[in-house]
C-alpha cells in the first residue's frame, strides 16, 4: 500500500470534523475488510485515513421510539449474535452469516457493507425489504433517506465525501415483520451472491392472504432493487404455492441482470424466480408460526 496519514476519530462528530479538516483526499476506514483489500491493488491512495473503528457511539443496537436502530459500526458477527435482532429479524442474522467467513464478519461492519455498495452486498436486501432508513452525518448536520435510495450505482451512494453513515433504522411499523433472506452462491463460505433476495410479508387476520409484501433483489441490477410489480400482484392475494411462484416469475421479469464469469443473465433471472418464491414461502411460514404463538 502507498503511504498515508492515520488519524483516529473518537466519535461520529469527531470523524466529521476530521473529514472537514483533511478534505476530499481523506477516507474513512471502519472494519477495513473491503477498503484495505482494494487499496493494495489501486494506484490511488487516500492521503489521510480516518479510522472510525473505535467510535463507540456508532456501535449500538437499540430499540427506540422510531424503530430498531443499528449503529453503522456494528459488525456482522454482532448482528448474528444480537438477541434483539435474532428475535425480531432473524433474516438479518441469516444474511450476516452469509457474508465472507468468520474473519471477515468479525471485522466487517454493516455500515461498511452498505457504503461499499457492491450490487451483490448481502446485508442490503433484507433491510430494503424492511424499508430501512439510513442516517448520515455531515458538517451541516444529519439527514435521513430510505436505504433503497441510498444506492446510486455499483459502488456508488449518495454519501458526500464529507459525510458518514451513522446508523440504519428499521421503522417501528415493521418491527417483527416476518422476513426471509435467500442467497445463492457457488459455495457456502467466502462466496459472493450470484443472486440474493429478501421478502417481508404480513398476513391478513385470517392468515390467508398477503399484506404489504415487500421484495428486494440483489446482484441483478446496478443497485439493490425492489420488485414493485411482484409486490402489487401479491398485495391482498391469497398466499398459495401458485401465487408465490407467479410472484417469483414476475420478479424475474423486473430484474436486469448482467452476464459475467460467475453466471449468465438468464441463469440469474431463473434464480430470481426461485429465490423469490422461496423467500415468500419462508416469510409466510414465519408469519404463520408467529400467529400460533
Amino acid at each position: 500500500m502507498k503511504a498515508f496519514e492515520f488519524v483516529a476519530a473518537r466519535d461520529a462528530q469527531h470523524a466529521v470534523a476530521l473529514l472537514a479538516e483533511h478534505g476530499p483526499s481523506a477516507k474513512l476506514i471502519a472494519g477495513g475488510t473491503d477498503l484495505l483489500a482494494d487499496l493494495k491493488f489501486t494506484p490511488e491512495t487516500p492521503r489521510v485515513m480516518v479510522d472510525i473503528s473505535r467510535a463507540a457511539d456508532l456501535k449500538g443496537i437499540a430499540l427506540r421510539d422510531d424503530g430498531l436502530a443499528i449503529g453503522a459500526l456494528v459488525t456482522h458477527t454482532e448482528i448474528m449474535r444480537s438477541p434483539v435482532i435474532r428475535e425480531l429479524f432473524p433474516a438479518l442474522a441469516d444474511a450476516a452469516h452469509t457474508i465472507g467467513a468468520v474473519q471477515t464478519r468479525n471485522l466487517g461492519t454493516l455500515g461498511g457493507n452498505l457504503v461499499t455498495a457492491v450490487p451483490s452486498l448481502d446485508s442490503g436486501p433484507a433491510l430494503v425489504a424492511l424499508e430501512a432508513q439510513v442516517m448520515m452525518l455531515g458538517p451541516a448536520g444529519g439527514r435521513r433517506l430510505p436505504l433503497a435510495d441510498f444506492f446510486t450505482g455499483p459502488r456508488e451512494t449518495v454519501l458526500k465525501p464529507d459525510e458518514l453513515l451513522i446508523e440504519i433504522v428499521i421503522p417501528k411499523k415493521n418491527l417483527g415483520k416476518p422476513t426471509s433472506f435467500q442467497k445463492f452462491g457457488l459455495r457456502k463460505g467466502q462466496a459472493l451472491a450470484l443472486v440474493n433476495v429478501a421478502a417481508s410479508v404480513w398476513l391478513s387476520k385470517d392468515q390467508s392472504s398477503f399484506v404489504e409484501p415487500r421484495i428486494a433483489l440483489g446482484a441483478v441490477a446496478p443497485t439493490i432493487i425492489r420488485a414493485p410489480r411482484a409486490e402489487a400482484y401479491l398485495e391482498g392475494r391469497a398466499a398459495t404455492p401458485e401465487t408465490m411462484a407467479e410472484a417469483g416469475r414476475i420478479a424475474a421479469g423486473e430484474a436486469k441482470p448482467i452476464s459475467d464469469f460467475r453466471a449468465s443473465a438468464d441463469y440469474r433471472r431463473e434464480l430470481v424466480a426461485v429465490l423469490t418464491r422461496r423467500a415468500l414461502e419462508h416469510a409466510r411460514a414465519l408469519a404463520l408460526a408467529a400467529g400460533k404463538r
Binding site: M1, K2, A3, F4, E5, F6, A8, I29, G31, G32, T33, L36, A37, K40, F41, T45, M49, D51, S53, T77, G100, A101, V102, Q103, T104, N106, L107, K188, G189, Q190
Partner: protein, 157 residues
Amino acid sequence: MEVTLKVNGEARSASVAPETTLLVLLRAHFNLTGAKLGCDVGDCGACTVIVDGQAVNACLMLAGQADGREVVTIEGLATRDRLHPLQKAFEDHAALQCGFCGPGAILAAKVLLDENSEPTVGEIRDALAGNLCRCTGYTKIIAAVKEAAAVLRAERK
C-alpha cells in the same frame, strides 16, 4: 506512528508507517512469522490471528487499529513442555502437509473451541470456511479439530 499491543501476553511496541498492516507488524517488526502472507486480501485466512478473542485476518487490519489490543499468534499456543491440544491433534491426524495454512486454521479453530466445547462438523466447517488449505483437503483438519475438542473437554473435567 507508535503502537503498543499485547502479543501472546507480552506488551510489545513498535514505530511503524501508518499504512503498516497488523500482519507486517507481527512478521517484520516483532519477528513473529507464524502468521503467513497468502492472498493479502482476506480470502485465504493464512494470516489469521486472534485479536481481543476474535479470529481476524491480520492482512486486513492496520497496525494503528490494533494499537492497545490483545493479540494471540500461533507462537503463543505451545509451551516449552507441550503443544496445544489443537497442534497435537493436527500432528496426529496429519492435518498439515505443507503447513502454510496451519497457523491460521489452528487459531480459527481455537476461537471456535473457546466458545463452543463440542462443535458439530457443520459448526467446524463454518468456523474454518475462511481458511483455505490446498493440500490435505479439510477432512483431516476437521477430524483434528473434533479430537482436540474432546481432549480439551476431558482436560476440563
